[in-house]
């Protein structure tokens, strides 16, 4: 019986984020919250593995109480159990502190295989998966494009920019999923009904404090801090030509490219 644990993050759909052209600040209102796409691919891969070799799929998320929406969606997809890691003390954690908390929770929950998404679309760090693996002292394989189980081993196709590695790794291990790993299924109606009645297990600071050093979590325990954040300034100062005929436009382009020595 393989115990698969999938770590997911609820994220704002950053493709829906717009900048206010007047203030040049993010418009956060009305931006939908979704399960991070790489994580959702990991969920799907876990559910397929379970269908092939048996076992259970537990889904874990750290976040505010509202993150239970993401967990219920995972239950509606077919996960067996959902755990929410939530506490004010966890707030402001950077990737190191986040991995410290999640690793402590995973130790408590137990696992054979951990799947995380490669990276979240709001932070784009890709760091939490490997940092969890290091905290748990288990092997990690990131950028997974295909996975399958062979007894006590996982076989993983690992993507690089210029090649693939097919790797064999002994369980327990941690795999980070690319969005290409598996196309997520839709929730079923029965799944949705069940998911809204299901209990979500909650773990807070008190539940986990024996699993980490309290000085290493939250805003204060994070090695990195945001110094400032800002929106990029528009570059400007270019030339814009309108109402030209195609021939005039071409002439203008050729003249410019000649001027800057590219023709």
């Amino acid at each position: 019986m393989m115990k698969i644990v999938v770590c997911i993050k609820q994220v704002p759909d950053t493709t829906e984020v717009k900048l206010d052209p007047k203030t040049n600040t993010l418009i956060r209102e009305g931006v939908p919250s979704i399960i991070n796409p790489d994580d959702k691919a990991g969920l799907e891969a876990a559910l397929r593995l379970k269908a092939q070799v048996g076992g259970t799929v537990t889904v874990v998320s750290m976040g505010p109480p509202q993150a239970d929406v993401a967990l219920r969606e995972a239950l509606a997809m077919g996960c067996d159990e959902a755990v929410l890691l939530s506490d004010r003390a966890f707030g402001g954690s950077d990737t190191y502190a986040t991995a410290t908390i999640i690793a402590a929770a995973l130790k408590k929950i137990g696992f054979d295989l951990i799947i995380t998404g490669r990276q979240a679309i709001d932070g784009d760090t890709a760091q939490v998966g490997p940092q969890i693996a290091e905290k748990l002292k288990i092997p990690q394989i990131s950028y997974a494009e295909e996975i399958r189980n062979e007894g006590e081993y996982m076989i993983v196709k690992r993507q690089y920019e210029d090649r693939y590695h097919t790797l064999k790794v002994k369980l327990p291990c941690l795999i980070t999923a690319l969005a290409e790993l598996a196309k997520p299924r839709y929730m079923t109606v029965r799944g949705i009904v069940g998911a809204y009645e299901a209990d979500i297990k909650a773990l807070n600071f008190e539940d986990l404090k024996d699993g980490f050093n309290p000085d290493y979590i939250g805003l204060k325990g994070s090695p990195t801090n945001v110094w400032r954040s800002f929106t990029k300034e528009a570059k400007g100062n270019g030339i814009k030509l309108t109402n030209l005929s195609a021939d005039e436009a071409v002439a203008a382009i050729v003249a410019k490219l000649t001027e800057i020595n590219l023709i």
Binding site: D122, A249, V250, L262
Partner: protein, 335 residues
Amino acid sequence: MSKDIYIVIEQRDGNVQKVGLELIGEATRLAKELNQKVVAIIVGNKVASKSDLLFHYGADKVIIVEDPILKEYVTEPYTKALTKIILEFEPEIVLFGASSIGRDLAPRVASAIHTGLTADCTGLAIDPETKLLMMTRPAFGGNIMATIVCRDYRPQMATVRPGVMKMLPKDDTLSGEVVQYKVDFVPEDMNVEILEVAKEDKKRVDITEAKILVSGGRAMGGPAGYESLRAVADVLGGEISSSRVGVDSGWIEKHRQVGQTGKTVRPALYIACGISGAIQHLAGMENSDFILAINKDESAPIMDVADLAIVGDLKVIVPKLTEAIKKAKAAKVVD
């Protein structure tokens, strides 16, 4: 006491990857402000001969770790080698390329030595007062930038996006100190087994190397649209690239994608054809030397970052442009 800036040089099949040289260039600039040195670490099998190259691009010192176990990249042995070096030499700053190797390795190392790590940086600077490394990176899908610091732990670590930092001109007269560093590996360090290494059969074009890029977006409408761009690119001696929509629609290969989820490019000339200029795309090309945008929509964001913005129908303009450039080039030859 922590000192010096260490660059983890990425090699594949013994070939030094460009991002490592870019980081040496950037580190040289930062090191001046700290009055410290730039140290390159190269880990692999039979890579000692690469040390000269690293000196020529600005490294003051090279640390080499060689072992057959390091032939192909595997997380655990590479982590062991780097963790050992960092704990022994105590660098002030350690930089990695933000590639699929660096972004696997750096978090594991940072977690093992308990320090901060900032991902995928596009800007680095030293704060004049605190001497802290200011690590700037896009977040929220490129919608905002955040500057991150690591105050209390050393080294300050970051992965840096390939193609953003500038390498120094090569200087063959430069040399420096070479340290052969011994790491004792045991069979258990190889905690995954490589069953197969499959390199891409088709030689992938590296758009980050191209001096001229002709890039298409939604208005291409299909693979045929990119063929017309190919014609302009060919007469200019450039390559074609794409915004995300062309890749997601299957019109063009993924490795030609420019932007937040693709590659960062800074060619001498970037021609954006029918690309609206979503912030995620701009993040990947706004540092190009010269940007030419051709778009029907005058108010598209790309038109504001372009050095020359042409409002018009690219389906008419592009073929005419190809012919005009051909003519202009031919005229030059006669001269």
